[in-house]
């Protein structure tokens, strides 16, 4: 399986609002920590090493 890069999130606006709301009231460090936990949770859910490597590459914007 390869990394999905086509739209795959139902209700994208609702998801985005929930993501930003989760950070409401957090300090910068608090936000970084939340993001780190979120990445780890999602990575475990995905579970596919190749997909995770592809995602890491894509997130670096192929630098």
């Amino acid at each position: 399986m390869s990394l999905k890069t086509d739209p795959n999130i139902p209700d994208p606006d609702g998801f985005y609002a929930e993501l930003i709301d989760a950070h409401e009231g957090l300090s910068d460090d608090g936000s970084h920590a939340l993001n780190a936990r979120l990445v780890l949770l999602l990575a475990n859910h995905i579970g596919d090493r190749d997909v995770l490597s592809d995602a890491l590459k894509a997130a670096t914007l192929n630098r």
Binding site: P7, N8, I9, Y16, I20, N62
Partner: protein, 542 residues
């Protein structure tokens, strides 16, 4: 006493002394509309066409200068079409489909609205608001000439209201001094800063956004841009935190700069300073500034749009950010929803409770608009460092990956509201019926062999039969539903079948005067149809 608050684009209803000013006792009229903008005149058209006497009072003598609303959605044009003024708007307007999104100096992606075939009206037109209003007023004059009981009075300012159980007493100021009149119903269409709301001390709750926007409408000289919507996040020319460029008729371009909260309005409004921003963006291009303005906005609504005999519509009832063109477009849907209900109640054909469903259905619409415009605003003007970081991450990824593009929000353009769960909704028992025409939906247009479906619906109730036995008109409790028999045998594109039948072989739709679906079935059942007409007019099914 009656100083103009703004200059006029078109002086269309100069002050004339009314007989009501010389009457011995205050004259009572069924409906007074406060405010002669697009919502007030829209409602006057709706009621006037029904033969309901209506007086529009406006404190100016015509249409205000400045383009303000420029983007009019399909549903608005379909409503205007029902009132008889949709076609001139379409002829004058600019149709656009292509949008481009930029971040700093890079194009992130472009989108095409890809309009669906088989509609009389496009998804959107761009048109300066004064033109939109002028076509409405011209249609109002045409209806008046045919005897429609519409009266519009310029330089008539409502200074005080006294709300009784079943009518309202109005103190009206004119250049000849004050007079008193009475109305069974007073409709507040007096805009976001509604004086009526203030007089009645009604709350207007929501969020104020700490940002301001500088609009400049410019006319190009020897130059042109394509007919596209261009939106910059953090533009490289440094003219603001975001910028929108959009074409209007008459070679006029709307430029909208987000300039921050802490600005000196007087300084920013100086032509030399506006030109500095424009020159940085446009380079060495000649243009003339047609109109400019600085605005701030809020996302707010009244808790209730109806207060006894006083009803609010448009921006006076709810205000949204401009992202998504949901102001004037939602106000026109208010008018569409209110007109037939008020008409039936005034004629004694429906109970007063029908008007409470205006509040129910349009509050649902307002919440949807406020949600969408708040989300767009939060994306365009991130409120925190982390929100800004996510926004730019979305833009960075959107340049390379399709998945991030639906997350880019530079305004979700107005789509009509579906009244899911409305108390006026009847049975939705068309087996295999498409979701887009479920009960509560506005009817999507479709091509017929002799024109468009949308022009055959509305004004009264319609019983639309598709590939089913034709029916006679039905009268239920003073309300007549007229039949409209159509057939997919004359549907070469298949659009009618796709939009109204889905998996069904035949269908019977009951359609409201505002072209929303009230109920639908596989086949005709007179008792069920009569019950649905009662439900749709707040009389209870039994």
């Amino acid at each position: 006493m009656l100083d103009d608050r703004y200059s006029l684009a078109f002086k269309l209803y100069p002050y004339e002394r009314s007989a009501d000013q010389d009457a011995d006792a205050p004259v009572r009229t069924p409906v007074v509309i406060m405010g002669g903008g697009p919502i007030g005149v829209g409602l006057a058209l709706d009621l006037g066409r029904q033969g309901i006497p209506v007086v529009v009072l406006d404190d100016h003598e015509g249409i205000g200068m400045g383009s303000r609303a420029i983007c009019f959605a399909k549903r608005t044009l379909e409503i205007a079409d029902r009132y008889g003024c949709g076609e001139p708007m379409l002829d004058k307007g600019v149709v656009w489909n292509l949008g481009k999104v930029f971040h700093e100096d890079r194009k992130v992606f472009e989108f095409n609205l890809l309009p669906e075939e088989g509609h009389k009206y496009p998804a959107f037109i761009n048109l300066q608001q004064p033109y939109f209003e002028k076509f409405q007023v011209e249609q109002m004059r045409a209806l008046q000439a045919q005897g429609a009981p519409i009266d519009i009075r310029g330089k008539n300012r409502i200074d005080a209201v006294e709300v009784k159980d079943d009518h309202v007493v109005l103190e009206v100021m004119t250049p000849d001094g004050p007079y008193t009149m009475e109305a069974d119903w007073l409709i507040g269409c007096d805009g976001a800063n509604s004086a009526l709301r203030g007089m009645m001390e009604l709350e207007f709750e929501g969020r104020v956004f700490q940002d301001s926007f500088l609009i400049a409408d410019i006319k190009m000289i020897n130059e042109s841009f394509p007919t596209e919507r261009w939106f910059w996040f953090e533009p490289p020319f440094g003219s603001g935190a975001s910028t929108l460029l959009h074409k209007q008729p008459d070679d006029v371009w709307r430029v909208d700069f987000q300039i921050g909260w802490d600005v000196d309005r007087r300084e920013e409004m100086k032509e030399e300073n506006i030109r500095k921003r424009l020159d940085a963006m446009l380079g060495d291009v000649e243009y003339e500034i047609v109109w400019s303005s600085i605005y701030t906005f809020q996302c707010k609504r009244m808790e209730r749009f109806r207060h006894g005999p006083v009803i609010f519509a448009g921006d006076s009832a709810h205000q949204v950010s401009p992202f998504g063109a949901r102001g004037c477009n939602s106000g026109m849907q208010d008018v569409d929803n209110l007109g037939w209900k008020l008409g039936l109640v005034i004629e004694g054909k429906a109970p007063d409770a029908l008007l409470d469903t205006y509040d129910e259905e349009r509050a649902h619409g307002a919440d949807e608009n406020i949600l969408n415009s708040t989300r767009a605003t939060d994306f365009i003007t991130p409120k925190s460092k982390i929100s800004h970081m996510f926004r730019n991450a979305v833009l960075d990824l959107a340049e390379h990956h399709a998945f991030a593009r639906p997350l880019v929000n530079s305004g979700r353009l107005s789509t009509p509201c579906t009244y899911d769960g409305s108390s006026l909704n009847g049975p939705d028992v068309l087996t295999g019926g498409p979701s887009r025409t479920r009960v509560g939906s506005p009817c999507p247009d479709a091509p017929l062999d002799d024109g468009f479906l949308i022009s055959r619906l509305g004004n009264g109730f319609t019983i639309m039969t598709i590939d089913a036995d034709a029916v006679e008109s039905i009268e239920e409790g003073g309300i007549t539903a007229q039949p409209l028999a159509i057939s997919t045998a004359k549907d070469p594109s298949g659009a009618l079948k796709e939009r109204y039948l889905g998996g069904a072989k035949s269908a019977v739709y009951l359609i409201r005067p505002d072209q929303h679906v009230a109920a639908r079935w596989d086949s005709f059942d007179e008792a069920a149809l009569r019950a649905a007409i009662r439900t749709a007019t707040a009389k209870g099914a039994a």
